[in-house]
Amino acid sequence: MYTSEEIEKMIKQYGDMVYRFAYVQVKNSHMADDIYQNVWLRLLKSKEKIDTEQHLKAWLLRTTSSCCKDVWKSFWYQKVCLQPEDDYFEEKSNRDSLMEDGYVTECVRRLPEKYRGIVHLYYYEGYRQKEIAELLGIKENTVASRLARGREKLKKIIESDRVENYEY
């Protein structure tokens, strides 16, 4: 089991990475907060320590991805989330407003669920397809097709807003 000092050190090192990965995949900062907390609690409660930094990073990203997919549970097992999807763009919470998402971030969050995480890992974390596949435990072919479709969709979203001159 990890000590509080070890957790603090890991939060300092990887906290932003975990939060950003959660934030881009869900609809608002409240959900991102819940997921972020769940990821660290899972680590806190794990009985064995993760041996290397690389494995720890992969574990954190994969667990965040799993927690994001478990969001459906909030419908049935936690408080009911009634925030309609499109409201995200109209009524941001105070936290969201403070963060003032940039345009590209908003566009990534408008992508269908299964593309967001992969596009984020590619554009923000700079991972290659093979690395993303290993990190998330999915097939490389799946990552390749999702990344291609995700980038294509991102381009369409940006073009539909009549924003030009982006290099993809």
């Binding site: 089991m1 990890y2 000590t3 509080s4 957790i7 603090e8 939060i11 906290g15 932003d16 975990v18 939060y19 950003r20 881009v24 409240h30 972020y36 907390q37 660290w40 609690l41 806190l44 409660k45 994969r62 667990t63 799993s66 997919k69 478990d70 459906w72 419908f75 049935w76 408080k79 009911v80 989330c81 009634l82 925030q83 309609p84 999807e85 499109d86 409201d87 963060m99 003032e100 998402d101 940039g102 345009y103 590209v104 971030t105 990534v108 269908p112 669920e113 299964k114 554009y123 923000y124 700079g126 998330l136 435990g137 999915i138 072919n141 097709s145 001159n165 982006y166 290099e167 993809y168």
Partner: protein, 253 residues
Amino acid sequence: MNIREEYQLEMKKVKPSKALNDKILEQAVLEQERPEKKKKRNPVFSLGALAAAVVLVVMIGSNFNNIKSFASSFWGKLTLTTGNKHMELDIEPIQIDKDEFISQEGTELVLGSDSNYWNTYSSLEECEKKTGMKLWDSDQLSCSEVGVVLDKYDRGIIYYDCKYKGDTYKLSGMFATKPGVHPGYGIENEYYKTYAYGNGKKAYFIITNNEHNKADQVVYFTANNVLYQLGVDASETGTKRAEELIDIIAADE
């Protein structure tokens, strides 16, 4: 402009709050201070204690949703519990080929205690085609992305957003994938109104508070052997919209 550079610059502003990190560290300190339980319990005692706890919780009518959900399944009834009222649900299992679902492109195993398999489809039609589920078909509603989750207890969840009259509504449905599995569910609040639809079915309207502490309402209804949960505003318009959506989604009932 390079999209990667711009995205990276924007993302640097996204950070967890200090209060959130403090909360986690507080929990870490508590966990560290908690004495480790090493005493081995007698398995017979543990089982007896578990059974007694379940009976006790059912008898005192606990409001804890998970326990109620379990209780509904435990007694072998397809029930929805709201407050102290129990309604039997007229739904049958939807038999999905789980092995086929797992082998589909894009199906992922979600890490966690329930071993959930998860996939998403671009439309209801694609979902029907890939899972064999029978859903609804209407020109009045548009539905973007459909998520399906199957767990190790032979239960399924389907969730999607619907666009109707310019607004987006979230729907989440629960179903069984094998005979003998009962997706019962309970919520502490009592329903304040019902709506009759289809062939003698009823939808139940419950007032609740959302994450912003504002009153909202949740509506429970069944359609195509799925127990649905739909969130709408706690207003006359919200209620009317819910009724219209139920009529569309459960048109074949």
